[in-house]
């Protein structure tokens, strides 16, 4: 008998159908990857297993976990199962831990709740769980606090909490989405090892096909609350019976059509740029200490070129972006756009600023929720000395919206009426409206579902060809950088460690760090038969 068996599960929340006839099974020792885009119901399936559903949720069907009928159990029995028989790992390690409790107490808490053991015994068990998650005692005593750990280490603590009681089923909901690629690879390896050692079943929920491709024994593909395809991983990738599976696969490795002729007229020149931040003083009269976020960075972007900048969080990419945009002054070195400095005499140079724009990562946070789309898109007009008015302004807004595939009437709507992908189009329209030459794309597609991401990448390639745009494409996602850039730079600890034509850097990386990054990135299998 299966460890977890979901049969014909329907879920309604406030009368709205969220899951429709979902069936899947997890065997002991097996990893089942549940894949889908946002709104596909993958997380709700997990919450249905745990019976941790929001108010107004009604479940029908059968969920059997190790012989327990989950939908029929009263709350106290469910509490005994949660944590004991099912462990759960969440996406965001920053918020999954209590910041004011040491990690030992947090892991021990699970043990104390479920078993009648002494505190010392629980702490010993916590120690063992952390040890199994590769957090050795010497470096990570139980008295450590979450803020003293990195994102990957915190995620290990969360996993230790989930496996402390050796549950039969582990549910991991996007466990690596918030992490850097190298950390992601380590966490995935850890999860696989734990599954093998304990023989537990694992439900791995993710939006990333590549992550499950070499992890999962079976895959379940969900779309709009329904399972569209399920089966052993190899077979699903080989056969791809459902058109949606194929679409998802193609979108993940999508290659937009681009003109790749080499160019050599420099547009942006960055020379020996250094950016220091003053650190807060620890003592009243201590000398001021500095943190060097960007250390002697030099590069050029040619007109019409697309340059990728790759690096993990904290490597200084965002600082560099702010310096190029003229939002912060640099300590030494110079940044020139078409020969003109970004900063002149400690003041940002408006002539240069109006020739570049930026698109941010978060399609939800990059717009003032109280403004309509028209004024939002028109905001960069502030950079012009003589901004268009009245009909001219409306025409410019309409043109910008049309060039990103939206209707001119959309300018009268509020931002919450749009989906994530549409918002990112609006963000691009906002960048385009003053006809800049350089657009900095700061993780501009990282928060999007793969199918939407493919569309936005196509749009960017098309716009670049139409308006002769130059892109600086900043991302931690190597597969995206590979598809859209001509050249790529790898940044580590404030320095550029490798630079070269994209294909060359990816196929034959020279620097050790680049090699690690590329080895860590999950890859999709080559398309088999079908």
């Amino acid at each position: 008998m299966s460890l977890l068996e979901i049969e014909g599960l329907d879920l309604d929340i406030h009368g709205e159908a969220i899951l429709k006839d979902v069936s899947l099974a997890v065997q002991p020792g097996q990893i089942v990857g549940v894949i889908g885009e946002s709104g596909s119901g993958k997380s709700m399936t997990a919450f249905s297993v745990m019976q941790l559903l929001p108010d107004g949720a009604v479940c029908r069907g059968r969920v059997t976990l190790g012989g327990h009928e989950m939908l029929a159990l009263p709350e106290p029995s469910l509490c005994r199962l949660r944590g004991n028989e099912v462990g759960m790992v969440f996406q965001e390690p920053m918020t999954a831990l209590n910041p004011i409790q040491p990690i030992g107490a947090q892991v021990a808490e699970t043990v104390l709740i479920h078993e009648d053991v002494s505190r010392a015994e629980a702490m010993a068990r916590a120690r063992k769980a952390l040890e199994r998650c590769e957090l050795p005692e010497a470096k990570f005593p139980l008295s450590r606090y979450p803020h003293e750990l990195s994102g990957g280490q915190r995620q290990r603590v969360v996993i230790a909490m989930a496996i402390a009681l050796r549950p039969k089923l582990l549910i991991a909901d996007e466990p690596t989405t918030a992490l850097d690629v190298t950390t992601q690879a380590q966490i995935l390896r850890l999860l696989r090892r734990l599954v093998d050692e304990d023989g537990m079943g694992c439900m791995l929920i993710t939006h990333d096909l590549a992550v499950v491709a070499d992890m999962a024994h079976e895959i379940v593909i969900m779309r709009q609350g329904e399972v569209v395809e399920a089966g052993p991983t190899g077979r699903v990738f080989d056969e791809m019976r459902h058109p949606y599976t194929r679409a998802l696969f193609e979108a993940s490795g999508h290659q937009p059509e681009r003109d790749e002729t080499p160019r050599d007229v420099p547009l942006l020149q960055v020379r020996d740029v250094v950016r220091d931040y003053a650190l807060p003083r620890t003592r009243l009269f201590a000398p001021q200490e500095h943190f060097r976020a960007v250390n002697g960075v030099s590069f050029e972007i040619a007109k019409g070129e697309s340059l990728g900048l790759v690096g993990e969080s904290g490597c200084g990419k965002s600082t560099l972006t702010r310096a190029i945009l003229g939002l912060e002054e640099v300590q030494s070195g110079e940044i020139l756009l078409d020969g003109e400095p970004v900063f002149t005499g400690h003041r940002p140079n408006r002539d240069v600023r109006r020739r570049m724009q930026v698109v941010f990562q978060d399609p939800f946070g990059s717009f003032n929720p109280r403004w309509k789309v028209g004024p939002l898109v028109a905001e960069p007009f502030h950079l012009l000395d003589d901004p268009p008015n009245g009909a001219d302004r409306d025409r410019a807004i309409a043109e910008a919206l049309e060039s990103v595939g939206l209707a001119p009437e959309d300018r009268l709507k509020y931002i919450h009426e749009f989906s994530g992908g549409q918002r990112q189009r609006i963000a691009i329209a906002r960048a385009l409206i003053i006809k800049p030459e350089l657009i900095i794309l700061d993780e501009a597609v990282s928060a999007l579902d793969v199918s939407i991401r493919a569309q936005i990448l196509d749009l960017l390639a098309d716009l670049s060809a139409r308006f002769g745009l130059t892109y600086l494409f900043i991302s931690h996602d190597l597969s995206v950088v590979r598809t859209i850039t001509d050249r790529v730079m790898v940044m580590q600890a404030g320095e550029i460690v490798e630079e070269g034509p994209t294909a060359l850097v990816f196929d034959a990386p020279q620097h050790d760090y680049t090699k690690t990054l590329i080895a860590a990135a999950p890859v999709l299998p080559e398309r088999g038969a079908a």
Binding site: D55, L325, L327, P348, R350, R353, R354, Q357, V358, F360, Q361, D362, G365, S366, F367, N368, P369, R370, E379, P380, F381, H382, L383, A427, R430
Partner: protein, 282 residues
């Protein structure tokens, strides 16, 4: 959220509706008092003094035979006017200070504004209000100024705190990329997004203002006779509370119900503006 959806959610919230109705009753009483009151509040009628409620005087009369209903109505005028202006002073001065401190976080300006705030907070507000009125003379105007000064740091601190988190948003970054300065960003992007908070805090400060005005009038430093005020009505009645309890009960109830109404309204508005709480439903 659409406008009709907002209205429907507002009507579903019991505390908001109750609070709004209570507040509206007293505002209406104050407005009506300009046009009509049952009896002239300046007319003394000694033979009919300290009468309990009856057909002629629904809330009875005081120790000079004045009609209490009329006095409560005219008193509402004073209380509301003092509270409105005091909250206005707090918002008009406090909000820009808070916005400026947030825009220049960590600078000398920020330090000066926030330490100045701490300084005002450090004084017991009622004592200072008494001092101001004692030095500059007891009048409604001085009461307004005294209460208003203590509203400034409340709004400055609230605005700064909320604005700081907004400054990290991408849309503020986008506005900076569009070349907008700190002042422009504060008024175009930050202010509209803290209004909800300010409205909620405003209703609460409003009720505190009414209490403060009542307290100042009670010690004789608020509105001066013959202008009726709830606080002084309470003060006048205290020696006669065993003979004519209605003289204390009705102005006391007026203060209690107005403050209750405003607090309920503040709570209701906060729930309404907070989408996380709104989901749960009341």
């Amino acid at each position: 959220m659409t406008e009709t959806g907002f209205l429907r959610a507002a009507l579903r919230s019991r505390s908001l509706v109750l609070g709004a109705v209570l507040t509206a009753v007293f505002v209406l009483a104050a407005v009506v008092s300009f046009l009509w009151v049952p009896h002239d509040v300046a007319m003394l009628d000694i033979p009919n003094r300290m009468k309990g409620p009856d057909g002629m005087h629904p809330l009875g009369t005081d120790h000079f035979g004045r009609d209490i209903l009329s006095m409560v109505m005219v008193g509402a005028r004073t209380s509301i006017a003092v509270a409105v202006v005091a909250v206005g002073i707090g918002m008009v001065l406090g909000v820009p200070l808070g916005l400026a401190a947030a825009a220049r976080k960590g600078s000398l300006l920020d330090e000066v504004i926030m330490r100045g705030n701490d300084l005002v907070f450090a004084f017991p507000s009622l004592l200072i209000a008494i001092m101001i009125t004692a030095v500059f003379g007891a009048s409604a105007l001085n009461a307004i100024i005294a209460i208003g000064i203590f509203n400034i740091p409340v709004f400055a601190r609230l605005t700064r705190g909320a604005a700081l988190s907004l400054w990290t948003r991408d849309y503020v970054m986008a506005a900076r990329v569009a070349g907008k300065g700190a002042a422009r960003i504060s008024f175009e992007h930050i202010l509209p997004n803290v209004t909800n908070l300010l409205i909620v805090q405003g209703t609460i400060q409003f009720s505190l203002g009414i209490l403060a005005e009542a307290a100042l009038s009670y010690v004789g430093l608020g509105a001066q006779p013959p202008l009726p005020s709830w606080g002084r009505m309470l003060a006048d009645s205290q020696t006669m509370i065993s003979i004519a309890p209605h003289m204390a009960i009705f102005p006391g109830l007026a203060i209690l119900l107005t403050v209750l109404g405003l607090n309920l309204m503040g709570d209701g508005l906060r729930d309404l503006f907070d989408p996380k709480i709104r989901r749960v439903g009341r």
